[in-house]
Symmetry: C2
Amino acid sequence: MEKKCIGIDIGGTTVKIGIFEIDGSLLDKWEVPTRKEDGGKYILPDVAASVLAKLQEMGIAKEDVAGAGMGVPGPVMPDGHVEVCVNLGWHDLNPQEELSALLGGIPVRSGNDANVAALGEMWQGGGKGYHDIVMVTLGTGVGGGVIIDEKIIAGRHGLGGEIGHFHVRDEEWEHCNCGGVGCLEQVASATGIAREARRTMAAKDAPSAMRAFGDGITAKDVLDCAKAGDEMANEVMETVGRYLGLAMAQIALTVDPEAFVIGGGVSKAGQFLIDVIEKYYQKYTAISNNKGILTLAKLGNDAGIYGAARLVLD
Amino acid sequence: MEKKCIGIDIGGTTVKIGIFEIDGSLLDKWEVPTRKEDGGKYILPDVAASVLAKLQEMGIAKEDVAGAGMGVPGPVMPDGHVEVCVNLGWHDLNPQEELSALLGGIPVRSGNDANVAALGEMWQGGGKGYHDIVMVTLGTGVGGGVIIDEKIIAGRHGLGGEIGHFHVRDEEWEHCNCGGVGCLEQVASATGIAREARRTMAAKDAPSAMRAFGDGITAKDVLDCAKAGDEMANEVMETVGRYLGLAMAQIALTVDPEAFVIGGGVSKAGQFLIDVIEKYYQKYTAISNNKGILTLAKLGNDAGIYGAARLVLD
């Protein structure tokens, strides 16, 4: 039997789990709830019980499992140690060692969830066929993952790929969650885009289709209006695209990947979003015509389980 | 006999050559002129003749040479191919293959000179003891080199470490050599600092010690005035430090090195320069207290031969 690998993506609400062939085909996937009470001490036993039951159900012996990978929503040290993971209630533990013990010795590897998702997109998603990609996830926040030579660049202090906190806007006055002011995430996340739209509507008298949504406007509303040709919505998206294009240009001039893979809820806007980013990305990389392309992510919420499974294959 | 390695740094005026023990001790170094006539076709034969003569003089057999590394002032493809190297007159050649043949089969590796210098500083210079560093060279231009896990990140299109062309200043009006506008190099190189000082003197009426130098002012003059407490010179250096700190913050949030190693002529200003950059670097990395340090390069013009020799040891 070909070896299988297991991908585990631990989120604040559910844990997503997948079983894969080592060639990347997904055999089965499912979810278990994330029980965060009592310092998150039930999470790993729940995951282990669920994985072992599934292996038995599928008739897969432990010896046929190459290993399990795990994405954790916080910083993970190179040895797997997690000092603190606020979203799960974890403090000072090594979840990869614990999970390996709970799985009866199956080898377990782990990484930060954004980095792991980037690895998944490289393996079987929008970055398939490339070895060097940077993933940019535009969701509630702006996340990033840098993959060079098929390896995650996690950074020596867990700051690798923290591109949502690039300072891009000097005239910003509100603080970002990180303590900084003027971060990319404040403009280009889903919440950032909605905020930018509210600010623009408040600052101007001009009519706009966006006004029908009032203060409850979402990033999707802004993008729908922009696609329909609304001038003010396009102005908002030019601002968003300019800062994203600038950040990607600076990343291109640092690690020069083959592709930027753009994911997260905002990326459902598709080619329209790529085009508005591309204009500024090209402008800010005038030094060369030969550079990484911009493309869309393909795996959606499954990127984490794919990337986690891929961790095992190094 | 312990194996030796050879480091060759090809510049537009001279080629620097060094012979090293594989532990990084420099045994001897010398220079030969760079003969650029006839498409630079004499450069590699000159280097090879000089190296072979030196090996004979030192009584080192070819079998005792682990290899030779070479820094080239332009983009080098992963297989060593150079499409064009304007500074040397080279077009469409593979200098590492040619040099290896000229050296009677000694293995040769090559890389871009800025990246190779970064590797040298990691090996035996300001980054000694670290595995992940980013070198920032403040000279006529602003160069960079990104080293992760002791390997150069050259990039898929040769743009790795091209940090001098980060767009940092929207209100700039002059074009950079690269075709862009508002690049870091336009403010933070030696020529950029002098230009910024001339602009500041022209825009203001206030007295300043810088005025004694007139339009011939150099970056060193600006830094000397700033260290002596001149207000306008300090204003210039705050601008320079802000853009450098911003760029390094964005690099830290991408690859998160252990250290930034600052070199080039401008870095002779020492801790004063580090301090003015550090203030803004800290400001723009508010997300964490735990991040790469800023430190000074140590090898000066020898960084290239050290790094070239280190290329051989991978």
